[in-house]
Structure formats: structure tokens, C-alpha cells
Symmetry: D2
Subunit: 338 residues, 4 copies
């Protein structure tokens, strides 16, 4: 951290900052410029909030040098994390993994029809919502435990793994019993109670970026999970809020190479939520792969027009087959197995 | 809702939309323009998600006419909601209510010192964090239940009410036992499990706007609480995420009169979190009052330089007295008691 | 500036940075931490672009300590700038100045009717568009020179000053001949050719913040004008682009006290463009005054329903009289003449 | 357009809207719902501003059905526009065109060295800045006319075309004399005087999206150029302003397929400005191609560490060769010549 003193800070104020730095177990290095005195903080200050120094009299601002996360950082763990699932599927480590399935589990028929399609296209991880966090209290909220059992049954028959969202700390054991990966949704990215509970669930965690959250905050949220000792964490870019209204969200494509540089955790792209429109899913999915994503998560429905949720962004079976074929070609073009 | 058909939509596609509209218990009104056919949906379509129609073949887009909330709307409840607390304090109904206290309860001494200051300045509602949702897992996370008991004890002695945040559905009964108002923090605005639990807690709810959430989404989140039958809900504007980095967030001042027009729920402004800097708290608080806010929530600390959290945005006792005096003058200038 | 070296930067890379710093006429101060080496740049580095150092091998990032503007800074000119006009009107220096008039000059009748209303309400500076930058090429683009002559004639009769927008460097002499203040619109804030030409126009300049521009960029744009030797510059906050769609733009109320701290230039608020809706103009205007603005610029039309542009955000004469009366009360409440 | 009346709008107010619609040469279609009356506007209302109806008494809001541009729309011109240059190079029509060169022309040596590299890599269009719009008045502003002559000379020798920015209407004839394509920079996207002048320059125009501008506004800006009769226009996505600070801008990857659907104009991606960091240029460039872009514009410098501007985002010759090779592979994977 760098502490920048105000133009007319006194000697006493400078001393007070140096004392506070030492009280934190760190060392301060003083540098007097023509216009400002600055104090470099020496030591591992990642766990220190800048505000602890910013609040002192005479301080103009405090700037971080190191990113405010540690376990999630490549500095700490240089090699790529690979998530390994019971059915042999992996996420991370060079290949492009596709997770696919319906937005919400609506019925055994719908789930089976979808799962068979995506399995036939080569997908090894089945997605499907059991607990649905919906903006409106009047919308379909998911089939809950019943859906979890259906997911498990269908996945087992097709030798697939299951990824599904958990929305409450209390539900973690139940979801962990049926699913292979616990998904934390974008709206819960900063639900720290849930992050800790999910970390302790004994399953890999797929953490989606909050729609108003920075890359750094996503990595700090991952730190909550990693701090429980669970290192099987994947991150998901699913679009952020911007002023553009042509699409529901704006996929932050820059974030993919940025994250690949900062963290060894696998990065997944969700083009379905990032665009909200099925006709945009393929180009944006291919862009994600070209930019270096380790995986995709895609909504598919046997009959999108009848879907109880996210119909407009769900792919038909035919569109999904086409997407998979193009994903393989682009993955190969950038030197990666898919 | 208005359904806009694509330029070359077929008769069959139009019929399918009309059928779907009727299946939803609504009526469709057809209008053929030179370039587009549009279908007006007649009836109360607030609980219907536009995607249910957007997904149909031949549909270009679907636009809402009515806001997607009902219980939170002035159409439904025209008169201002007034929150009434056991100690006689109110929020809403014309006056300007101030809630103040430390960001986090750190100790009995710190809490008492702060509470006495804000009580002396005329404040009737004490704020203070017991469960702190922090961006970093390494930051101070609050004293939990111990802090709740301190808040109650100090508030009772000073005849104040207590507002404090609840971060987990499981904690609702405990927090409701000690607090007069349950606060839902910005990071949990779309934690729908928590919203429902808080609504059922038997206490008024102060719901903060998510930092990436629109005014409409804030009102839909309120709808989750209202749908539990709990109508004592206040909303809080606390700054949104924008590209500007001079302040931590951007207070959306426009949202205050916008919300006053859309909903009868009281609107509170949080200038401490919206700015992140103590020297900006007063001008932004006064702006909130001038724009029509029903209340303010302000962080105060007897010694901000020693605060365990949010020191840089906490007011000293002297600064808080000055703020209260100016708030009264501005409130009076716009014809409101404070 | 602070140069942060990468974790494994070599001695040669550090030396190269120090050499580049010296080549810029500045001095480097080395500080070796446990995890990173940092180099503090000593001297006035405001005119230096961080990229000049960021590009060197081994550099992780470069952070500014000083704001990248000088003439616009309170460090350079501590006392408030007051703009003084020929008719005795002023902007800045403690009082609240109101500029008002129609969005666009449409006819002599419309202009006179509006000017008489705003003059009767105590306004000394008449606004009115002659050259209108419109999003669509098919919209009314203003009456040009004819409008300029009308503005001058009406203003002279009512002893008012004129503020009007200039959109092209070539038009500066013509506009400067008829107007007292040259306005640079938000869409031209970063039109540096125009900024320079306007600075050389011999008139005070009212510079509006770009809708996608930060406070720092606004001050750098002001620097372009100030660098011509013209120090009579006022800045205008008129709303920025955010994800919120309830209003056309989001007025950045925080920016008012932030700017008052950074610069001695007067700060004006435009609640008409920031909200886009006449019913929001008054509360947001009052918020601006409460937050410390030096002035307001307001759109008024004798018959908004017949306006050729910006009708929905124009105040009727009656609404404008009410606004002026409330502005005076709030200004007084915060200790300022209006 | 759809006019939504307020809940309690009177018959007179409805009639007034219908009258105004007719006065605009359009027809109104009335539809009375349970809660709102709506009026559909029938006819080509693209050139009509919604505010003309929004301002009428009793109107709650006005929603566009048709996009507010015409000449830029695929409805109007379904087939892809192909820009054809004198040296045989094209932009649009299926292939991926790369424009490359230095950010700014600094000297004949630097320009030649760069041009030879990019020509050797297969590039047919040389980019290079002569007039540089810089955020700070103290930064290098370009060599002006001298640079234009160098660009022409070098390009002619290597049989390349030249694209360079024009920043002032007065300079259009001069730039058009030396360049094959006139570039309008992001900061001037809404400089409508310049757009018109550029349209009349007799050369194709490359129009960059403003950093705070929506896709619709970009197409309206293109409409200004197209309305001059010049149909050789390409659009460029170069990143927008968002809350994310890890990169200078956020490339809006969604905008590429969105634009391809809305307009026949070619879409170019600028990964250099969108990311600001050379190590991110390749992944984001490949993403652009995978998403369907018709071209790329890339900054290259023989020695980025010595560049007078944009060094950190400029590619070295070696990195550029690698990029070109990967671009070809990804282009092929998505079925396009490069």
C-alpha cells in the first residue's frame, strides 16, 4: 500500500501514520517529494483494509499495490487449478468444458429430453435449476428438492455430473448430496454467509460474478470460499450492468484474459445470461473460447417457447449441436482440446 | 405489455401470441401498422414475465407498460406508508428521520459514547452493525449476538430504537428479538431467501438498494417483503456503481423523487456509504433532504481514526452536530419538520 | 507518480525506469518491499502521461499521486473564480446564479415570452440554443445566426446576459459576438479543437461534463480552455450515463462537493438534462443547491407541449416561479445569497 | 411508437395526442386496457422524437417500436455494405480485414519500420495518427499535415491504403487528400458538425463508438454521415465506460452480433483501445473475430517502450505476427477468409 499525505500534512501526522503501520505488523518507508510526502507500506498488507490508514489525519489517499486476495492469486498458486469430478469430467487445465441443460428443471420429461440432447452433443456436465432466485416473487421459483433428485437420476443414467445453484446456507447439505458442483448465482456473489457455507459443502463451487461487481471483488468473493480450505473453485463471467440496453447485460470479454493472468482458477463464460437472446449465444460463446475461457455454461431447452424461465435465451437442440461443433473448431484454432 | 412482432411475422405467429396471452388469463388487442404488427396485452400483467411472450416465434420484443410490482406501487396504495416504532419514532409521512450510530459495534464504550452523542443531537433511532458483510474474509466481521445485546441495552437506556443488519435467514429471529428494524444490506438486496425471512420477522424492514440494481428491481425486492404481509418497509438509496472513481459509489439523487412518485414507502438516503468520505457526507445528506428524502442514515464514531470499519466515512461528534443543525434548516426550507 | 514493478523485475529493468524518469526531468525514489519494488517519482509530473513509464519492461502499473491538471486545480489557484458579465451578473463566489430560458430559440415570440418570465423571476442570464446538436439528423437543428441575434436583442432589452452553445470552431467568432458566455455541450466536452477555439473566443466558457466522462477528465478538458489564457471558466454537471433507465441520465450529486474541493472554478448544475422530466427538475435543482452548486441552468418554455425540443423537461412559467422561490429558501438555509 | 397514457388521463388528453399524431402525418390506433389507455402510432415515425408526444398532458411515457435510424438499417438496405479502396483492399462482405500501424506517426523512420512490418504480415490498410485528440493539453498532439504526407508516401510505396483520424471540420479536405478512409474518433462520435463534414469528404468513413454511447446512438451518428449521400461507412467497437477498472474500457462483445443484425455496415473491433494493455490485445482480437467482426484495427510499434503515445497497448512486430497467424486460424474456424 502507498499512503499519500495531503500537501500540508504535519510531521506529527506523518509520524502517526508510521506508528499505525507498525502497529499492523508492517513497515513504513518514507519518501518526500516536491509536492507530496508518501509512505510505502512494506510487508504483506493484503488483509489490511486501506481505510485503516485513510482515516488518519493528514492522509489524502491510500492506494493498493497488491491485489486484496491471496489464496485466489497466481502469486500464491502459480499452476492452473483443475476441477475433477466423479464422472471423469474436468474444468480447467487447457481443455474447454461445456456445461449445458435447462434453465430450470420443469419436469422429468423436459429434463430427460434436454439431458439426452446435450449428452449426445458430448457434454459431460448437466446444468439445471432447482432453486431459482427470481427478480419477481410472482415468477416460478423452481421445484426444489424434487428437481435435485431428478437431476441426479438423469445424470447418473447418462454418466454426467450435475451443477446446480444453491441459494441459502441451510440448503447446502441437501444440494451437496445431489450435485457435483454447487453454483453460487450472480445475485449472491457477495452473500458471504452463503459463500462460507458453500465452501464447507465438500463439493467444487462455481462462483458467478455479480452484475455490479469488479474482477477484484469476484476474486475476493472466491477468497471466502478458498479460506474454508476448499480449493476446487471455478469463476464465471456472465455479463455486467452497463448503460447499454440492447442486451440485458454486457459480457466483459476483457475479464477473461485479465482473470487468467491474476488467478489459477478456471474461468467459465455464460453467454446465455450475458446476452439474454438465443441468437446471440453462439457468437458470444465462440468469443469466450477465443479469448481463453476454460468452459461455457449454456441454457438449452427442447422447446424454448414453452420454457417456464429464460426461454428467450435458451438454445434449441439443433442450435446447440451447431454451437458445439463451432466451439470445437474455434477451440482447436486456438490450440485447445474441446 | 406490448408485443412487437417482427417485420415479416406470419399470421400463424400472431395467432400463437394471441393464444398464449389468453392462456395467461389476459386479452390481446391487435394493431397492424405499416411496418410492424403490435399486440397490446389487456389485464393485470404485472406478475407475468415478458420472456413468456418474447420467446414465441415471430416476436421481436416485448415492452412493459405497467411496472412489475404491485404491493409496492402507489397505484395500489396511494397514501404514504409511515413506519411506527415502539419508542414513538417514525419514518415517513412528511418529517425527516435521522438514524445514526457507528458502522460496527466495537465495544460497549464505543457504542455508548456514540449513542449519547447522537441522542443528544436529537436522533431517536440508533444504527450499529452486529453482523458485518465485508468484501474481504480477513476484515472484522462484527461482534454478532453480543453486539445485538449491547445495542438493545444502550438504546433502551436512551429511549432509542435500534436498526441493524441481518445477513442470514437463520439469524432473523435473533436479530428481530433485539432490533426494532431489520436492515437488508445492499449486497443482499437480491437475496430473495433472506428477503422472505426478514419479511416474516415481525419487524419493519429497511431495504437498501443493490449497488448494481435499478429502481424497478429495488421495488421488486420490496415486493418480496411486502408479499409476506409485512407492509412496514422503508427503502434506502446508498449509491450505485458507475464509471466515476472519485467517490466509491454515485448517489442516485434522481432516484429520490422517482421513488416518491412510484411508491408510498418511505425513502431513506445513506450519504456515508454513497460517498465513502466524511467531508462529502454533509453536502450529500443535505441534497437528499432537499430532493425529498424521508430520512437519513449516518455513520458516526467518537474517534473515526480508531474505527474498525468505515472510519473514513464516519463523522466526528462535532461534525454530526453541525450536520443535524443544517439538516433542520434545509428540511424547514422545503416545508418539512425534522 | 508511483511506478510499481512486477514481482520478478530485474535490476536492469529498475535502472531503465529510473533513467526514463530522469530523462523526463524528474527524480526517482526507490523503495524495496517484501513483494514489490516501487519507484516514487519526485517533481511536477502532472503533464507526464503514466503510459510513458507503464510501457517499460518489468513495470506492473503506474499510479498517479497528483491530479493530471494544474491550471484548473485549487493547489494552483486557491481562491474561488468569479465570472463577471457585462450586465453585472456573476457566477461563483458564494451566491447561487440561475441561468434560464428555452432549450432552443424557436421564434421571437417564444423567446420574448420566455425571457420576460425568467427575468421577472429574477434571472439575469438568458439561455437559449441557436446551434442544436441533436442525436438524430432528422430533428430540428436550431435557427443558427438568426437565433443569436434574437437572443442578443431580447437580452439587451431586459438587461440580461446570454449563454448559448457553440458547436464548431468556425462559429466561435460569430457566437462570441452575440453571447456573453460560450457553452460547450456535453457531447463536445472532449472535442479539443473546439475547446481551444472557445478559449480564444474572448468570452467566459461554460463547459458541460461529458455523459461518459469522469470528474478528472472534465477538469482536464477545462485545462484545454485555461491553457489559452482564458480563466473565466465554469463547469456544469448535467448527469452521466449509468445502468439506471428510470431517468435519461443520473445526476452525479457527489461530484459537486468533489469538484468544489478540487477546483476554484464555479460549478453549475443542469437538472433539466440530468433528469429529462419536468416533474423531477425542482427536487434535483434544490439538491444541487443544498450540495453546494454555484448555479443552475434550467429549461423553461411558455408552452412546453408545443416546444420543438426538450419539451418534457421544460418548466412552465408557473413551475419556474415556484422553483425560484424554493431555490432562494434552500440557498438561504445553507447560508448563501441567491 | 406507442403512447402510454397515465392511469387517469381524460378523454380530452387522449384526443389531443391523437390530433398531434395526425399533425405529424401519422395515424393513431387507440387501445383501452383495464389499467391504461395506449395509442399505437402507425406510419414511419423514425424521424419523430418521442418527446414531441411525451410532453403532452396525460401522457405517461412513449416507447419506440422502430429503431430511430433508417439509412443505417438492414430494413432499408438488407445486403452487406462493402467498402472498396483504391489499392484493392476491402472492408465487409465476409472476410476479416486488418488495419494496423502506429498510434501516432512520430517520424519517417518509425512509420516506415512499422508499415513494413504490418505489410509483411499481410496488412493492406495502414493506420497512423496525424491529428491526435489527447485528454491532456500537455500531451503530444500529433505531427499534423506532415504526418499525413508521410502516411501517403509510405503507403504508396507498400501499396497500402491509409486510415487516419480527422478532428476538425476544417481539416476534412486536407485529410481526404492524403487518406483513403477518414476516421472519426470515439470522443467525436457525437460531434455532428464533424460527422456531416466527414460525410462530404468524398472518402469512406470509419466511425468509432463513443465511450458513453449506446449501439442505437452509434447508428444514429452513422445516419448523419449516410444522410450526406456517402454510404461507405464502417463502424468500430472500441470499448465503453463501465465500473470495471481492471481495463481502461470494456469491449462490448455483445455489440458485434447485435450490430450485424441491425445494420449492413461493416463492424470493426479495436482491441488496442478497448483493453489498453498489449498482453490483452490478442485474446480480445480473436474474440472479436469469433463473434463476427468484419475487421480489426491494431496498434503496432517497432519499439513500444519508446512510443510517444499508447505504448502500453502497442504490439511489438513479433507479437503482431503471432496475432495475424492466430486471427487467420480463428477466421477460418468460423468459415471466413482473412
Amino acid at each position: 500500500m502507498i499512503v499519500v499525505m495531503k500537501a500540508h500534512a504535519t510531521e506529527n501526522e506523518v509520524t502517526e501514520v508510521l506508528d499505525r503501520v507498525e502497529a499492523l505488523g508492517l513497515r513504513g518507508h518514507l519518501s518526500r517529494g516536491a509536492e507530496r510526502t508518501i509512505i510505502g507500506v512494506i510487508g504483506d498488507d493484503r488483509p489490511v483494509e486501506p481505510e485503516v490508514l485513510e482515516v488518519l489525519p493528514g492522509v489524502e489517499k491510500v492506494m493498493r499495490i497488491l491485489h486484496p486476495f491471496k489464496l485466489a492469486s497466481r502469486d500464491f498458486q502459480p499452476e492452473d487449478v483443475v476441477i475433477r469430478l466423479a464422472n471423469g469430467a474436468t474444468i480447467g487445465g487447457g481443455s474447454v468444458s461445456v456445461m449445458a441443460g435447462p434453465c430450470a428443471v420443469e419436469s422429468m420429461d423436459q429434463l430427460e429430453a434436454t439431458a439426452e440432447v446435450v449428452a449426445a452433443a458430448g457434454v459431460k456436465i448437466l446444468r439445471g435449476g432447482a432453486f431459482k432466485p427470481r427478480t419477481s416473487p410472482y415468477s416460478f421459483q423452481g421445484l426444489g428438492e424434487k428437481a435435485l433428485r431428478m437431476l441426479r437420476e438423469v445424470a447418473d443414467r447418462l454418466r454426467m455430473a450435475v451443477v446446480t445453484e444453491v441459494t441459502s446456507p441451510e440448503d447446502v447439505p441437501l444440494v451437496a448430496e445431489h450435485a457435483d458442483i454447487l453454483q453460487i448465482g450472480a445475485r449472491n456473489m457477495a452473500n458471504f454467509v452463503l459463500l462460507r457455507a458453500a465452501g464447507e459443502g465438500g463439493r467444487p463451487v462455481l462462483l458467478k460474478r455479480g452484475l455490479g461487481s469488479t474482477v477484484d471483488e469476484l476474486l475476493q468473493a472466491a477468497e471466502y470460499v478458498l479460506a474454508t480450505g476448499n480449493h476446487q473453485v471455478a469463476l464465471c463471467e456472465r455479463g455486467i450492468r452497463t448503460f447499454e440496453t440492447a442486451t440485458r447485460f454486457t459480457l466483459d470479454i476483457n475479464a477473461i484474459p485479465v482473470l487468467k493472468g491474476l488467478t489459477p482458477l478456471p474461468i467459465v463464460v455464460d453467454p446465455s445470461h450475458a446476452t439474454g437472446k438465443s441468437e446471440l449465444v453462439k457468437p458470444v460463446a465462440l468469443a469466450g473460447v477465443a479469448a481463453g475461457a476454460d468452459g461455457l455454461i449454456i441454457e438449452v431447452h427442447p422447446n424454448p417457447a414453452a420454457a417456464l424461465s429464460d426461454g428467450p435465451q435458451s438454445l434449441t437442440p439443433a442450435a446447440f449441436f451447431e454451437l458445439m461443433s463451432d466451439v470445437r473448431r474455434v477451440a482447436q484454432a486456438v490450440g485447445r482440446p474441446a
